[in-house]
Amino acid sequence: MSRYFIDRASKNIVFVCAFASILVLIAIFVFVLKEGLPAFQRVGIIDFLFGTEWRPGIGEFGILPMIIGSLYVTFGAMLLAVPLGIGCAILLAEVAPFKARQIIRPAVELLVGIPSVVYGLVGMLLIVPVIREIGGAGFSILAASIVLAAMMLPTIISISEDAIRAVPRGYKEGALAMGATHWQTIWHVLLPAARSGITAAVVLGMGRAIGETMAMIMVIGNSVKIPVSPLDSGRTLTGNIAMEITYADPEHMNALFATGIVLFFLIVILNGTAIIALKRGGRAYNAG
């Protein structure tokens, strides 16, 4: 009887755990919404989203420069990290000898454990001066994209590698048996078959990119200005919140929470499009 009791009890406990995490999500969303909505009402949603002036001291709240800053940095980082990451995953899953893999894999995993403030510091002291040589102040979208790419890499590499490894052995053997070279097998069979896993890797990496705060504040320059060239300084949505929350008076605070709402929807939209785009691509490939 007690066996069944434990069985039932653990089922309930697991349910409570799942429910608790959903409750946290709802609580955060409701709280941010409640704190942020007054700013939309006061400033007007259009002026808030498309205003280019952010001067809380005189009551101007426009976050377009930060929306563009966040998107710019995220795409810049993906441009660098996705090819590198998938390349490294192919190497680890298919090309590298066992010994090399035993060194590379733990090294990549170690990258995950480095706190973001350390990435920021390294970026500030090494990457920023190098970019200064190219032009501008050094604190720039480009510097932020490079730092962010380094932070996304471990996620993309390890999940993509697992996805490539999870492709049934028969696919690979079939391709090789039909005379395909190793590279043809990787490109035309393994990668398409692992597509959904690689999609997950890219989406998770992107999530990390858009949410990253500390390292960004340290290298991006934080100017409230729409960045044009990658050498320009800019500011991200997360950076905007973190920089100013300590001093904010109630009105300013509402505007920062409203920034959080925008960030929330931006993440949903970005993840949605990434998943749809990559799935579409897959179907087109299969049809062709």
Binding site: S2, E53, W54, R55, P56, G57, M124, L125, V128, P129, R132, A137, G138, F139, I217, M218, G221, N222, S223, V224, K225, S233, R235, A242, M243, E244, T246, Y247, A248, D249, H252
Partner: protein
């Protein structure tokens, strides 16, 4: 037998709860301690914490809670009574309630540049034009033909507020300025960026950046003290009425020789 284990478990849980509740009550006990709340300027905050810790060592019956929030918050919470003591790192504005000010220390704002810069001094007017974005090249102020990299603090920072009040004179800091969220981050940015300019509290100046002379007065602690250096702000404790009791004891301690030694140790200039 299984029943026994579950009974034992219940017993352990219950005694655990009682123990926790007991600890909680002990924690709340000793309720005779008098609590003083200080709130306001984040520039004053670390200094106030040091002073409060030193004070509480000798006055174990007093508990001082130090909060941030910025100078405006300090004025507001002192006036409405949510804080016993307010803190402000600037002069009170005429629009603000008249509170009693206790001058705790003086803090100069240094204008710093990269050590390699050939420019050694600027006028207050030039600093203003640089930050307003009308002077953009070092050659306009007698330096090399290089763009000025403007570095400032974020919106709401007490140092920025004081800089705007003492230097900017109603002009806005250009939106092209690079912003750093702390005195330390700003100093590092200036130190690694040739042809940069930044402003920071004197408490943070070191050899990694060059402190410019302003209106011909070198940016040194001595010149701030003598009153010759132009960009100086007061750090105030505020009270609504003449302080009494423990609040008076604490403020007296801060202004005493002993308290002022801590002020100087923290890199600020003694008010005495």
């Amino acid at each position: 037998m299984l029943n026994k284990t579950s009974k034992a478990r219940v017993a352990v849980t219950v005694s655990g709860i009682i123990l926790l509740a007991g600890l909680f009550l002990i924690g709340c006990g000793g309720g005779t301690a008098h609590t003083i709340t200080e709130a306001g300027s984040t520039t004053v905050q670390p200094l106030a914490e040091k002073l409060a810790n030193a004070f509480m060592e000798d006055h174990t019956d007093v508990k001082i809670i130090i909060q941030g929030g910025g100078s405006s918050t300090g004025v507001r919470s002192c006036n409405d009574g949510t804080a016993d003591i307010g803190a402000a790192s600037r002069e009170l504005k005429s629009s603000e309630p008249a509170l009693i000010t206790h001058l705790l220390a003086l803090d100069g704002i240094a204008i710093a540049t990269h050590p390699s810069n050939s420019v050694d001094g600027l006028t207050t007017e030039q600093v203003k034009d640089v930050y307003a974005g009308t002077i953009t090249n070092w050659s306009e102020v007698g330096g090399d033909d290089e763009d000025i990299v403007i570095i400032a603090r974020e919106e709401g920072s007490g140092t920025r507020d004081a800089f705007e009040e003492l230097v900017m004179d109603e002009e806005l800091i250009t939106s092209g300025a690079i912003l750093q969220p702390s005195n330390g981050a700003l100093r590092t940015s200036v130190a690694i960026t040739p042809y940069s300019i930044g402003f920071l509290s004197f408490g943070y100046v070191d050899d990694s950046a060059k402190s410019l002379s302003i209106d011909g007065v070198a940016g040194t602690v001595e010149n701030v003290k003598s009153g010759a250096y132009p960009i100086v702000r007061p750090l105030y404790f505020l009270t609504r009425e003449e302080p009494t009791g423990q609040v008076k004891d604490f403020i007296d301690f801060c202004l005493s020789a002993e308290g002022q030694i801590i002020v100087e140790e923290e890199g600020y200039i003694s008010a005495q």
